[in-house]
């Protein structure tokens, strides 16, 4: 019973940020829902052995690993298995092209801009700016040094600013 209550509390607290992170990684809302479900299910299974203090980092690490697996699976479905998949290829496959074409809403436009970042920068940017994790938490979640987190965040902001300056809809809207 305690485990169930704890699980429900954790679900309520983290599901939105996990979904946002998965959405940024995978692009498609349906895939993000699947990823969130899978991670919450893993949370339920691992809850007795997890330390509450590290749960947030654990959740994001698990989400990231799951999303990368999904992206790799997509690539295997597209090309022969013996091909080495480069980071650039992973980024290409991270976003569903049908979704990218359909930019009817503001949120989808935002995702389209975000999808132009490489995965390594995108995940740091979403964790810091959107989900508001601290540098240390991001370093633990992505298993990289804190300095790397800072550098990637800076690069992500620079690249996004470049992309956004080319987009009329974002610049005109921000001036108004």
């Amino acid at each position: 019973m305690i485990r169930e209550l704890e699980f429900q509390l954790l679900c309520r607290r983290h599901r939105d940020e996990l979904y946002r992170f998965a959405r940024a990684m995978l692009g498609s809302p349906a895939d993000a829902e699947d990823a969130t479900q899978e991670v919450l299910l893993r949370l339920w299974n691992h809850l007795p052995t997890l330390r509450l203090l590290n749960i947030r980092a654990w959740l994001f690490l698990t989400t990231r690993n799951f999303c990368l697996d999904q992206i790799r699976r997509r690539s295997w479905a597209v090309q022969p298995a013996d091909d080495e998949i480069s980071d650039e290829r992973v980024d290409e496959l991270a976003v569903d092209p049908s979704l990218a074409a359909d930019t009817t809403t503001r949120l989808e436009e935002a995702h389209e801009v975000l999808a132009r970042l490489p995965e390594s920068l995108r995940s740091v940017f979403v964790l810091y700016e959107v989900n508001q994790l601290r540098y240390r938490e991001i370093a633990v979640a992505l298993q990289i040094p804190i300095n790397t987190v800072k550098v990637r965040l800076l690069r992500a902001r620079q690249q996004l600013n470049q992309h956004l300056s080319k987009e009329k809809s974002w610049t005109t809207l921000s001036k108004s």
Partner: protein
């Protein structure tokens, strides 16, 4: 002040997880729990069955006290074999009956006692989550 990047971040922050996700997670957890329980009961039945076979085998092939104490060293008669068969039949029937009852009881107990509280708690939690703040 309100640059495009901040707009973008605000837009991305506005996104939330669909309400169907926790429901589906609850359903999957309930399904997995039911599967786990049925697996445990199956394993228990298997262990009990194996134990019964070993016991019956031991009782059949263990040198009986009657035979050891028999001063004449006579071979078992037809009536003795019949008796042993009858006893074995009785033991097997009893073990089978116990196993069937235990299996039925375990399944009923799991359905009655384990699954409903789990479902109830998930429904309560679901209501709490979906209720507007």
């Amino acid at each position: 002040m309100d640059d495009p990047l901040k707009k973008l971040i605000r837009e991305l922050r506005s996104e939330s997880c669909p309400a169907s996700v926790p429901d589906q997670v609850s359903q999957r957890i309930a399904r997995e729990a039911a599967k786990k329980f049925s697996g445990v009961s199956l394993l228990a039945s298997f262990v009990l069955g194996a134990l019964a076979v070993v016991l019956v085998g031991t009782s059949l092939f263990w040198p009986g006290t009657d035979r050891v104490d028999d001063p004449c060293g006579e071979t078992p008669t037809l009536s003795d074999s019949g008796k042993v068969l009858e006893q074995t039949h009785g033991v097997l029937a009893a073990v089978g009956h116990v196993l069937i009852r235990a299996g039925g009881h375990a399944e009923a107990a799991l359905r009655k006692e384990a699954v409903p509280p789990l479902l109830r708690s998930f429904h309560t939690a679901k209501d709490k989550i979906t209720r507007p703040l």
